[in-house]
Each structure stands twice: as structure tokens, then as C-alpha cells.
Amino acid sequence: MAAYEGEMISRAVEDDEDEDENQEYFSVRARWSPLIRAELLKTGGKLPCKFIIVAVGIAASGFVKTYIVQESFSIIGALFTGMKDINTLTQQSPTEKTCYVYHSESMPDILAVICNRDLPAEQSYSFVHELFSAIDISECCILILAVSMTSDYRSEVPVSDMAVPFMRALRTTKYLMTPLCPYLEQPNIISGLQAQLLTYCQLHNAKAILYNCYTDRIDLEVTTMKAFLPLLKSTPVKDYVLANPNPKADETLLKLVELHSAQNMLYL
């Protein structure tokens, strides 16, 4: 089907093309710190976990880094995507494509996974399997944060009549708590790493919820990151994370915007 009148992109690719093509997608690899590797050997391969927050993309990552992952969190592992990268090992580079896993030092079964850059959907399967092969999600609550453009959002009401940014939620069957915002309405869908994460959780009967923020800005800006703020005072975040109000939050957010605006080629 055409996505909209005038757009005639066919998703039907010739089957024969597969025999000739040699598409190689880098399988994502996880590396854990020595302490975690020792812990994995002790527990028989999986880290116990009560709560994981996964941030996909720069806006969601900016929110999590500013309000949740503060000094009390430390890096316990990384997921290498194979993409050509400036790797600072501390996620200071705006284009860093490695995703890092943090844990709370006071409560090591609370984890945060921060993916600064969107991962190609083709790598999402290996990413999710590498991540969850080391984490026991059977008793865990998973919160996934992501951002999409309003141009991808379909509704009866024109988006120009809606207050942007706005959030929509999708949850797995086992997640029984009431979300902060309306559920994502059909015919809207979500794809990419965030979709793969939620699919994995659904298939493995885990409690998970995805909050997708819709924005009309292609560059990183404070309003989009702050759209996730209500999550700090609600389940599941407030149950697991001591969200100490960060007095430097606004300053941190502005620094992030400045760091990423250098990458914005639109007005060069």
C-alpha cells in the first residue's frame, strides 16, 4: 500500500536479490566489566535485576543522563555496534554509537541502558539478545524511552492542533500499571530498537512499558527532553530510583543541546 497519496514506494523486493547480495550487518557485542563478569560466573550467567530503564536516541538519553543516571551510577558494560565511531568510553562525544549499561552503586539490581544514537533496525535483534543474555528479566520491570517525529504520527486530529511534544505508551501483557499518557492508537506503529526491546519483553512475559515522545523538532532541544519529566514522579521510576532533584538539571540539558547543535548541519 502507498503510505500516502503520491508516495508509491514498493516494499516488494525481488527474491532473487537475496541470493546475490552479501549484506553483512555487524552483530552487536556486549562487554562487561571484570566485576560483572565475575558476578555472571557466580550467578550462572545472568545478573539479577529489578528495574531497567532503556533510553533510545539522544533526547531520551539526555533525559536519563540528567535526571536518573547521576554520580551514584557507574558503567558496568558496553554494547559495541561496530559503526565507525569516536569512542570516548564515557559517552561524551555527541556522535558516540556505543551503548553503555549503568548500574546504581547503592542498588546494583537497578540498571540503565543508554543508547545515544539510534541503532539501525537490522542490528536491533543482536543488540537485544546480547543485552538480555546477561540480564534476568523474569522479575524485572523494564521502562523504554524513545522519541519519534510528529510527521510519523497519524491521527484524525491534525498534529498542528495538538500540544507538541506529546507522549504515547505501549505495554506488554504482563505490565499492569496504568500509564501516564494514552496508549498509542492504531494505525500508528513503532519500529527500530525500541520495538525490538518491547517485542522481546512481550515474548518472554516480562513487565515492560514503552513511552514514545513525539516531537516536531529534528534537533535536540530541552522541551523534548523535559517531556519525560512526569515519569520521575510515577510508577515504575519512583518505586526504584531515588530521583534526587538535580539542581544543575537545566544547565546540564543546555550543555547537551549545545554539544549536539554542532552536529546539526541544517544551517551551515
Binding site: A12, R154, P158, G192, L198
Partner: protein, 278 residues
Amino acid sequence: MFISSEDAAPKFEEKTLVLTSVSVGNVGQLSADLLISTLSMKRIGYIHHESILPMVGNDPFASVDATTCKIVTSCEVYESMLQKLVVIQQRAPFIKGKRPCFRNWLVQWIKENKFKMVVILTSTHAHERIDVQLQGSQFRYIASSQIEEQFGDVFKNLHHWNMLERRTKFPAPSPIDQPVGEVKELYLPGGGIAKSLFEDLCDAGVPTAMLLMFCAEGDNVQEAITLTDQLNTWLKLVDFHKKTLDNTLMAEPSLNDWKIPLSWKLFFGSRVDQTLFH
């Protein structure tokens, strides 16, 4: 892999499996949507494979005023116990280069589960039609030897179906230039994995039929309805005729038409913002 969402492992023996191919106009997938929606089929499992791109959404078969969330993923398996029908609905395309991997897995899974027969729903590019295909019904079928033996007569004489013409690939030579004795083959441009899957299933000895429509990308709802109608004519899944008993309508309401699912809303995007024209 197939992951069941039921407590007990489902039994597929002696059931008909309907597969959709991601093809031009997504006709097979639209047709599967109509089947699942009209027959109120139940989701019994998921197919989780590295070759399929991920997607999630809310329940595509919910009622219009539903406010709950039941997530849908990129490839799911639905069943109708009454019709002994299983449908695999795929909502996302394949990753380039990984389709053979998926096909191999699927053929193996079909063999292990001993389905009675497999029906592949697909479509093919209308712009590649040969002269005889330009007019008349745009519906075609192809069947394995077992299906042809069992239903060939019914297809041709009762339903008046046309078998897909075998031909040489594009650029097809004109009838005058056609070399004598050249082997013609199945040619299904834009059909996705349908042709290879059909051949693999035939080689594996699985009774398989492929039903397809010629179409171009655009509003393909009509092609989907035609394809589903033809499938229904053969398998008799839904009876659309109003039954009367002594000239009074029977107590249970009968269906008049295929039930359009909620996910078909806003096919061509959001409503245009009228302020653009002020």
C-alpha cells in the same frame, strides 16, 4: 522461532496454513487482515526471527472505541479452531540478505508441524503482465501436484480460475522470437518470497497453493478483497449469504462483507491540515 502464547503447545496437524508474502501493494497481508478480522481469529503465538525487522503497535483488530493496549509484533500466528485455519501475518519487511534464512526455517517448521496444506497469498507487478494477462480476471493460482490432483478440476471448471502462465523472464521475447522448446518458468516479479517459498515447499512434499493478484502500488484494498473472496470461494470459510427460513431471517446475523480492521484507518496519512489552505 515460534513462541506460543498459549499454555499448551498448539497442534497444527490437519490444519490449513495461510501464509502472506510481503509483496507489491501488500495484497497478501491485507487479505490476511481481512481473514483474521472477519473470522475473529485468536493470536496463538509469535514468530521471532532475526530476518524480520521489528515493529510494535496497539491491537489492530480492536473495536473502534477500545482504550486498552494489546501489543502486536512484526510476525504473529493466528488460529481459527472452527475453520481449522492458521494464518501467519507479517507486518514488517525482511532484512536484505536474510530471506533465505527465514525461508529455510519456515519450511522446516511447516514440515515439523504437519500442516494439511499451505496457501500462499501474494501479488505481482501489473506492469510485467504479458498480453494475455492484460484483460480479464487479474487473479491467478499455482498449485503443487497434490493440490492440482485434488482440486485442479474444481479450480478450472467450477471456479473458473486461471493458472498463472509460465513464461520466460523479462525482457520476454515476442511470440515470433520465442525459441522453440525453451523452458518456461514461474515468474513472479514483486512477489517477495512467494515463488521461492512455493518451490521449497513443493520440493519438501508439502501440498501448497499460491493465490495471487496482478497489481500496482496504490490503493490495493480492492485487490485484497478480490483475493480473499477467491480464497473463500475455495475454502468456504465464511458464508456471506443471508439465510432465510420460511421467508424470515434466521436468528443469528450473518455477515455481509469482510470486516475491515481498525489498523486500516488513515491509510494515506493523517487528515490534511485545512489551515494550509487559508
